[in-house]
Amino acid sequence: MTTPLTLASSRRSDGTPVLTVSGEIDMSNAGDLDAALNSAAGDDGPALLVDLSAVEYLDSAGLTVLFAHAPQIELVANELLAPVLTISGLAELTTIHGLAN
């Protein structure tokens, strides 16, 4: 049994690809996230917007996947995830939307 995680790909009206993630990300399902990111990201189009607003838990396994895709993605996060994104240094590599500062 893996931890429940929903991954939904879409595109904004401006054509930006979006991957909406909800649930919890840990080592049991980080591979799914990786796969979804691989397929959602275009080769050389605009950066993929990964929407993590509905993610309640993100651990180092998930972070590692995000780091791997850092150059191609931008993130939408929530306050719960803020410490983890800051401490890991991911916030310095990618643009993160949705946080207070």
């Binding site: 180092s60 972070l63 401490i87």
Partner: protein, 1426 residues
């Protein structure tokens, strides 16, 4: 300044050419200078004095300066230019601008001249100058004189400068030479002299920056570096350079050499304080004493600041000469010293010679004077010994007188020869002889003596082709001396005389296989008066002059004598005589003697001079039957030197009329020790037949004879080979067995000193040679009589001591046993034959085998030696090895004769008594041990220790074999082991011990089985089977019959004791089991901590109780109650109430209901009335607590914010006070992280203090500990509340903290992460912490769990991981434990694991990762923010 003061009149209006005359550079410059523009103004306006000064200055060849005006403007001449250096041109500048750097010195001087008008000067200023192409050390003296203007006011200063370099340097060099001169007479060695020179030169670095002294090793051309300045300077030639100092060249030529390429040879030498290192040096010979060899070479470097001119060279030569003088003085001093020592040595040798020669004279003199005196007395009809005038005896006496006369004569002749040689008056007659024949004949004279000594004698003298010129008399002395010498020092082997021609010489060798000469003595062998102290010789006679005479005599023949020797192997003397007569004084050479020319002897015959040599030699040897005077010698006695001759009075021919000194019983026995056979015979003749005489030839033999069988008196010569008389006395006195033997010393050394020396050594009497027969007899008689009187006392004493029943002993000051009696031998087995017994005595128990016994004896001995009196009981070892116990009593006394301290003591065998006491003591001790024990194992452990102590055993081991084996089917029936070594297990025991313990099972109980040497075992009944026991005594100690009896006795008692203990044990176990059953739950749910303290020991229960009853839906029933009274009765009531309460709670009754029902129940139970109870039901999920109290003290709730609350609701009366009355119920909610304390009044009740004070105190205690884990808190509260005298009432205490810890165990699979997270999130939410902290803790815990899953269980997935979370008031603790091993984080290999650990550390306050063999544990801690 001479010549500068040229008088000159100056007139106004002079042209500048006249004012600044000459064509020097400075004159030109002054003329061209625009003076008007300076403060000095137009020269035409200058005062006369200035103008005059300028003229003088410019025309002088000496450096001069004019300082003018307030600014001291600077005018100077050409001669000053070099001194000014690069400051030129400075004409007309203010002085302080020109000489800025020294203005602080010269400024004030100039100012003082200006103000006072008085001249001054500065002397010998050092100024390095490059005048002659090198930087030169120069010195200058400046004078400062006032210059007045026309009004007489001082307007300027005139300075003349003079060069004082030569003077300064000359003075300095002179000081160096004086300093060197002052060292004369200080040095005691050459090295010291060189050192002094180096020290002086080190102080004189300005003139000699570097020096080195090389000394010649006397007699060689070798040079050794002895000293340098500065000290320790090392100067070595550069590789590839022109080479080293030309030392050898200087040594050879004895002429100084100037080295001008010093830097090229050596680089930079020490510079002596100057900027530039030396460039030149002189290498000079150090002349020896007048006419002597050069003693060495000296290197002196020249300062780079001075040219090495003639003056400098002569200075350096003087330094070298002074050095040589110092060295030579030291050589002379050493020489003188040596001479003084040699003279002292010669003086010592001469003194020794005279002392010896006196002995050499006195012995024969005694042997002449003694008999002559006696004969005269006899002839005069006076009292004399029987038969002195009979034919044989008369001849004997006269023979002896003759022999000793000869000996004296020989001695005198030798001395005369010597003094003639010394005075150069030896009249020699060198005649050509057949040296082979003459030598062989001389050798032949000695044949009989050498044969008699049992030595082989080889004479191998081949006739030579030409005659050799010798003085027959002298040659005889040479050969006879050497042969006599060979015989004296050779005890076995051979003496060999050989003659050969070789290398123009006749070579005679005389070789022996004797004791040899020590290597260090060889060089002094032929030294006059020098006697070699040899280990062994046939006689101690000798003047130390024989070999010296031989050497002189050979020397007179133009020959040489040498000796080679090896200690223990022999000595060979080699004489070389040149052929022909050319080397001899012609007036002393005579033709060969004609056969008839000498009427007295045939040609080549040996002269009478040989007789004394042979006679003397024969006397060193054991006599043969009929050839000596000792005709009464017992035929059976061997005749070897060193073994005593016994000569007894002739039993068949008594001397009825002999002067019998009147002794009772057998004749007294006298031992005579003398190396001179004549003296021995003479003494024997004098003493016989009144005494039984034994003769020995030296001190060593005497000592052995006395030890063997002590005589009544020892008469001994002082000078003897091997052991002399004084040493003999000392050896006799040192040994208690022989210390009492009287000794009469005979010595040739007259004088008070000698006799005191003898008496001090312990001799009883002392007789100086020559002595008369009567004198000797009188002394012998007195000494024997005295000794007999002493002996009678001794015999009495001995008899008395022997008759004692107790063992008796006497110790000397060092504790050596020197006397014992028969009883002593009976008790310890050691007899008088082994006396003295020195510590450690043989009866001491061995330190290794029995250290305790050894220590006891050592302590007793220490007391004996140090305090001298006391008594004690000690274990000793009999000669046959068995241990005995003896009571010793000892006391110290002073020996009445010697005053020496002695300790006398008695011994009694108390072995039997000792064992009786030991048995009773051991029994009592064992009984106490067993009765004190609280269990059978306890009793057994104590008993084993007791057994070990009784036997001082190494180890005692017991195996208990249960009636039924614990493990059926196992091959080995394994017993329960008890051992004094608490570490021991059945399997760790040595095989042989396991075997012994196993075998013992088959022996009947209580029958000791002792092994040969190392211990004993026994079997006895144990409450649970049989027990086998082994006592390991350690090595080699017998287990005696007494020991066996004791072991059986003790084992019997032990068996009984164990049974008794076993019964008590069982009863107690039952009681404890019962008590525990009624006390409370054995397993506590998480989050609770309890304490129980019964007031009555050893009961483990009392009237108080607590109970925790898990109920459905995460609820828990909590009860704390307190029955009236204490002890067993209260406990019985409590048990019933507790059970009833528990049953009621399990029926889902609410707290009020439970208490109401208990009211009814309690009314039926006697003693239950008035019990107080707190009963509550807690919902652990919500923290809601419903409770009711039956007169119980209120619960205390401590909040996480530091406030407390009392649970005072739901209160009513104690149980059964108002049965049927309905009880109230109250509720509260325990907020997250709050702590609940329930207790009985024993915790808070204090005499003379209200209960509320105690409750406040308890509230404070639980509040203060709100941050501590719950178990720690329980301990803290109990400790803090303990009254000074301890709790006087039962105390029950119960603590709970909300929420209870979370404890999750899950399989190590990643799918478990989400559910675990959910559980943790729920728990965290119950802890009331912020959502962001919840998230942080979740991530940190998640990382730890992920690590545990990923790494800890990589190889074994599905194993268990455990997460535990505990909260206190302000802190959160998480522990994640797995059973695997983590890898250390390696970010470069696995970034995301490294990231995980980093996250943990960032999110929590404190993280420790503890890898261990059993698994990895992660502890995390976070502080909860308010």
């Amino acid at each position: 300044m001479s010549g500068a003061a040229e008088p000159m009149s100056v007139e106004d209006g002079q042209p500048v050419e006249l004012l600044f005359p000459g064509d020097s550079e400075m004159a030109r410059r002054m003329r061209g200078h625009s003076w008007s523009e300076t403060s000095m103004g137009d020269p035409a306006t200058w005062p006369t004095s200035l103008r005059t000064a300028c003229r003088i200055c410019l025309t002088s060849r000496f450096p001069m300066i004019v300082w003018w005006g307030e600014e001291l403007r600077f005018l100077y001449n050409d001669a000053y230019l070099p001194l000014l250096g690069s400051k030129h041109p400075a004409l007309g500048k203010p002085g302080d601008q020109v000489w800025t750097e020294i203005w602080h010195t010269i400024g004030p001087m100039l100012k003082s001249v200006m103000s006072s008008g008085e001249a001054t000067w500065s002397e010998d200023l050092l100024l390095p100058m490059n005048r002659h192409g090198y930087w030169e050390e120069t010195y200058w003296t400046y004078s400062y004189s006032p210059l007045h203007d026309d009004d007489g006011t001082v307007r300027g200063v005139f300075t003349a400068v003079s060069d004082t370099t030569e003077r300064v340097i000359g003075e300095r060099r002179l000081a160096v030479l004086q300093d060197l001169g002052a060292q004369a007479g200080h040095a005691r060695s050459v090295a010291e002299a060189c050192q002094l020179v180096a020290e002086v030169l080190e102080r004189s670095g300005s003139d000699v920056p570097f020096s080195a002294v090389y000394l010649r090793r006397p007699g060689t051309d070798e040079l050794t570096l002895t000293a340098t300045s500065p000290s320790g300077a090392t100067v070595s030639p550069l590789p590839g350079g022109p080479g080293d100092w030309p030392l050898e060249q200087v040594l050879r030529s004895e002429t100084p050499v100037v080295v001008t390429d010093v830097p090229e040879r050596f680089g930079a030498l020490p510079s002596g304080g100057w900027q530039t290192p030396p460039t030149q040096a002189m290498v000079l010979p150090l002349a020896g004493e007048t006419g002597g060899q050069t003693v060495g070479v000296m290197v002196l470097a020249a300062s780079a600041g001075r040219v090495l001119d003639e003056a400098y060279e002569s200075f350096l030569s003087l330094v070298a000469r002074q050095t040589a003088a110092l060295v030579n003085a030291a050589v002379a001093y050493q020489l003188q010293q040596r001479r003084a020592e040699e003279l002292a040595e010669l003086d010592r040798a001469k003194t020794a010679f005279f002392s010896n020669i006196s002995h050499e004279f006195r012995t024969p003199l005694t042997l002449i004077m003694g008999p002559v005196q006696e004969l005269r007395t006899a002839l005069a009809g006076g009292p004399a010994r029987e038969g002195v005038l009979s034919g044989d005896r008369l001849r004997e006496e006269l023979d002896m007188v003759h022999r000793n006369g000869l000996r004296l004569g020989k001695l005198v002749n030798t001395l005369l020869d010597f003094s003639r040689i010394e005075a150069g008056r030896m009249q020699a007659r060198y005649e050509p002889v057949d040296l082979a024949a003459v030598t062989a004949e001389l050798a032949g004279v000695f044949r009989s003596a050498i044969d008699r000594a049992g030595l082989a004698f080889e004479v191998d003298c081949h006739p030579l082709d030409e005659p050799v010129y010798v003085d027959r008399g002298m040659w005889e002395k040479v050969v006879l001396n050497l042969l006599s010498n060979a015989l004296k020092f050779t005890f076995d082997g051979s003496v060999r005389v050989a003659l050969r021609a070789g290398d123009g010489h006749a070579v005679v060798t005389i070789a022996d296989t004797g004791i040899g000469i020590p290597r260090h003595e060889l060089p002094r062998l032929f030294e006059r008066f020098h006697r070699i102290e040899s280990a062994r010789s046939r006689s101690n006679e000798g003047s130390g002059i024989g070999l010296a005479l031989v050497k002189e005599l050979v020397g007179l023949h133009g020959g040489t004598i040498t000796a080679e020797s090896a200690e223990g192997a022999g000595t060979t003397f080699t004489i070389r005589l040149p052929f022909g007569a050319a080397h001899l004084p012609s007036e002393a050479v005579v033709p060969a003697r004609q056969a008839d020319a000498a009427s007295d002897t045939t040609p080549g015959a040996v002269s009478d001079a040989a007789d004394p040599f042979v006679e003397e030699a024969l006397r060193w040897l054991p006599s043969e039957e009929g050839t000596t005077a000792d005709q009464t010698r017992s035929p059976s006695t061997s005749a070897q030197p060193g073994s005593p001759h016994v000569s007894s009075p002739h039993p068949g021919s008594p001397h009825p009329g002999s002067p019998h000194p009147g002794f009772d019983g057998p004749p007294p026995r006298v031992l005579i020790a003398d190396d001179n056979a004549d003296m021995r015979d003479y003494l024997a003749r004098l003493l016989r037949p009144a005494y039984e005489v034994t003769l020995v030839t030296d001190g060593q033999a005497a000592l052995e004879a006395v030890r063997d069988d002590a005589p009544d008196l020892v008469v001994s010569d002082v000078m003897m080979p091997r052991l002399d008389g004084l040493q003999l006395v000392a050896a006799l006195r040192a040994d208690p067995r022989t210390a009492g033997v009287p000794v009469l010393l005979l010595s040739a050394r007259a004088g008070q000193e000698a006799s005191i020396e003898g008496l001090e050594a312990g001799a009883d009497d002392y007789l100086v040679k020559p002595f008369s027969a009567a004198e000797l007899l009188a002394r012998v008689q007195v000494n024997v009589k005295l000794a007999r009187i002493r002996g009678r006392h001794t015999r009495w004493q001995t008899a008395m001591i022997e008759s004692l029943q107790e063992a008796f002993f006497v110790c000397d000051d060092n504790g050596a046993v020197i006397e014992i009696n028969q009883a002593f031998t009976d008790i310890l087995g050691y007899g008088p034959e082994g006396l003295p017994y020195t510590a450690l005595h043989p009866w001491w128990p061995g330190e290794a085998e029995d250290p305790v016994a050894h220590r006891i004896v050592a302590e007793a001995f220490e007391q004996l030696v140090s305090r001298g009196r006391g008594s004690c009981v000690v274990p000793l070892t009999h000669r046959d090895g068995h241990q005995i116990w003896v009571a010793v009593t000892f006391t110290d006394v002073a020996d009445p004769t010697t005053g020496e301290r002695r300790v006398v003591g008695t011994l009694r065998d108390v072995t039997a008594e000792h064992y009786l006491v030991q048995r009773e003591t051991a029994l009592a001790a064992l009984s106490v041990r067993v009765s004190e024990a609280s269990s059978v194992p306890d009793a057994l452990t104590g008993a084993l220790q007791e057994l070990r102590d009784v036997w001082r055993a190494r180890q005692v081991t017991a195996a208990v074999w249960h009636a039924e084996p614990a493990h059926h089917g196992e091959t080995e029936w394994e017993p329960v082991l008890f051992c004094t070594d608490s570490e021991a297990t059945w399997h760790s025991l040595p095989d042989d011990l396991r075997e012994r313990l196993t075998e013992l099972r088959d022996f009947p109980p209580l029958r000791p089985v002792a092994s040969e040497a190392d211990g004993a075992g026994i079997t006895l009944e144990h409450p649970e089977g049989i027990m086998t026991l082994w006592i390991d005594l350690g090595q080699n100690r017998p287990f005696t019959a007494e020991d066996q009896t004791l072991l059986a006795l003790l084992s019997g008692h032990l068996g009984q004791g164990l049974h008794r203990t076993h019964q008590l044990d069982q009863q107690r176990e039952a009681a404890v089991a019962l008590q525990r059953a009624i006390l409370g739950p054995s397993h506590l749910p998480d989050g609770f901590a309890v304490r129980y303290e019964p007031a009555t020991r050893p009961l483990e229960v009392g009237g108080d109780w607590y109970d925790i009853v898990p109920l459905p839906d995460d609820r828990i029933g909590i009860v704390v109650g307190d029955c009236v009274g204490r002890g067993l009765e209260a406990a019985a009531v409590m048990g019933q109430l507790r059970s009833a309460c528990r049953a009621l709670l399990l029926q889902e009754a609410g707290p009020a209901q439970v208490l109401s029902a208990l009211d009814k129940f309690a009314a039926l139970v006697p003693g239950a009335k008035c019990t107080t109870v707190f009963c509550g039901v807690l919902d652990t999920t919500t923290g809601r607590l419903v409770y009711s109290s039956a007169g119980h003290p209120p619960g205390i709730l401590a909040h996480s914010d530091g406030t407390t609350e009392l649970l005072e609701g739901g209160r009513s009366t104690p149980l059964a006070v108002r049965p049927g009355h309905s009880r109230p119920e109250s509720s509260c909610t325990m907020p997250p992280r709050s702590t609940l304390l329930l207790y009985t009044d024993g915790l808070v009740e204090r005499r003379r203090s209200p209960l509320t004070a105690g409750i406040d105190q308890a509230s404070a205690a639980v509040q203060d500990g709100r941050a501590a884990p719950i178990e720690d808190l329980a301990t803290q509260v109990m400790r803090r509340m303990t009254p000074d005298t301890g709790y006087s009432d039962d105390v029950a205490l119960l603590l709970y903290r909300q929420p209870a810890p979370l404890d999750v165990a899950f399989p190590a699979e990643s799918s478990q992460l989400a559910p675990v997270r959910t559980a943790l999130r729920d728990w965290l939410n119950r802890c009331d912490i912020t959502s962001s902290m919840v998230q942080n803790v979740l991530v940190a815990a998640g990382e730890a769990c992920a690590n545990a899953i990923e790494h800890g269980h990589r190889d074994a997935p599905g194993r268990t991981v455990r997460l535990r979370a505990v909260v206190t008031a302000g802190d959160l603790y998480l522990t994640v434990a797995d059973t695997g091993r983590w890898k250390p984080p390696q970010p470069e290999v696995n970034t995301h694991r490294g990231r995980g650990v980093a996250l943990m550390r960032a999110l929590m306050q404190h993280v420790t990762i503890q890898p261990g063999a059993a698994g990895t544990t992660v502890d995390m801690h976070a502080r909860i923010s308010r």
